[in-house]
């Protein structure tokens, strides 16, 4: 058995010496870069998303995103990096803090207020029509007996006499 020991060790030894091969990180594709770039705006050009901005500066920023992705950064980390570097304005969606809250609150409030006004207006239009429909058949309805409204009753009587 001992005579096979050394040959066996010699066979195994190369496998122990060979270093561990690490998997190469693939370079992020343009599509992967643009998933993030689409959510950012060019800090210099007005209203131009980073994924379609043609300037040299934008190309540099897209390469920066590619570099960060290759380093294993997440989308959130990359976007936060851009905010730290260039301010909130690079984001396609304004962050919900400070006065930016108004962007999220005011439109729904305005829509609800508009609906409320429309409903009230609609009801107001319908109510006179309903009253007119009831009073158009025959003589106008007399005021129901109201003990406290003697003056109106007497006025009605005078008007009928005329």
């Amino acid at each position: 058995m001992k005579k096979y020991l050394w040959p066996a060790l010699l066979l195994i030894l190369p496998f122990l010496i060979v270093g561990q091969a690490s998997a190469q990180v693939p370079t992020p594709s343009d599509d992967q870069v643009n998933v993030i770039a689409r959510q950012l705006f060019c800090p210099v050009c007005e209203n131009t998303p980073l994924d379609v901005c043609p300037t040299q500066a934008c190309a540099q920023w897209r390469e920066l995103i590619r570099e960060k992705l290759a380093q294993g950064w997440t989308e959130t980390q990359i976007k936060q990096y851009f905010v730290d570097q260039y301010g909130d304005r690079v984001l396609g969606t304004p962050p919900a803090h400070g006065l930016n809250w108004l962007v999220y609150i005011l439109p729904p409030i305005a829509i609800l207020a508009g609906l409320f006004i429309l409903v009230r207006a609609f009801l107001a239009w319908r109510t006179p029509a309903a009253t007119a429909g009831a009073s158009s058949s025959g003589t106008p309805p007399l005021i129901g007996p109201n003990k406290d409204d003697e003056y109106i009753r007497r006025l009605e009587e005078e008007l009928r006499k005329r």
Binding site: P43, V44, T55, Q56, A57, Q60, W61, E63, L64, V83, D84, Q85, Y86, G87, R89, L99, L102, L106, I109, A113, T127, T131, S135, P140, P141, L142, I143, N146, D149, I152, L155, E156, L159, R160
Partner: protein
């Protein structure tokens, strides 16, 4: 006439909630105030001559932090630039030459503020033109917003009391042009 009387008594006008009107008007006033404040800020324009310049701290590419307040008593030249800015390249060498001229005296400080740039390209730009005065990124564009710059390059010359003595839109044409703005501020 009886119709009018009967309709008046049977059909009472619904009471309009006062709180609704107050809320609507209040909301409208607040909204107009916010819009007005924003428009005022936009129309303010850059820092004007004679005005105390906004305080800021520059975090340099070397890892140092330079607050403007620490430079009181010195003439400070604040230059906004970017590596993607072609006109900035026209004055880069002149800025460095001017800095080398004033550096030994210790009375003038040049600060370069890198506007919306990427660090590798910015460092490449500094190396290309051999710029040695302190430079750093405008993090969050806070410094450029404080000065309300319109673009790059722009240069602000701050006198020894912290007030804006001169500003330059676009590149300087020569080293003498730069010196012409700084030398009068050094006379006692």
């Amino acid at each position: 006439m009886s119709d009018i009387v009967s309709q008046t008594s049977t059909q009472e006008a619904p009471a309009r909630p006062r709180w609704g009107r107050i809320a609507a008007w209040g909301g409208l006033i607040v909204l107009l105030a916010v819009i007005g404040f924003g428009l005022l800020r936009v129309q303010k324009g850059p820092v004007s001559q004679g005005q105390v310049v906004p305080a800021f701290s520059l975090s340099t590419f070397d890892g140092n932090v330079i607050p403007l307040s620490s430079l009181t008593g010195k003439v400070v030249v604040v230059n906004f630039w970017a590596s993607w800015c072609k006109p900035c390249e026209q004055e880069a060498a002149d800025m460095q030459s001017a800095w080398k001229y004033y550096e030994p005296g210790g009375k003038v400080v040049f600060l370069g503020v890198d506007y919306v740039d990427t660090e590798p390209e910015a460092r490449g730009y500094l190396a290309k033109f051999g710029i040695t005065y302190p430079n750093g990124p405008d993090l969050g564009t806070r410094i450029s917003q404080a000065f309300r710059i319109r673009g790059v390059p722009e240069t602000y010359v701050v006198d020894r009391s912290g007030k804006l003595a001169f500003f330059q839109y676009g590149p300087f044409s020569s080293v003498d042009d730069i010196k012409a703005q700084i030398d009068p501020l050094l006379t006692p």
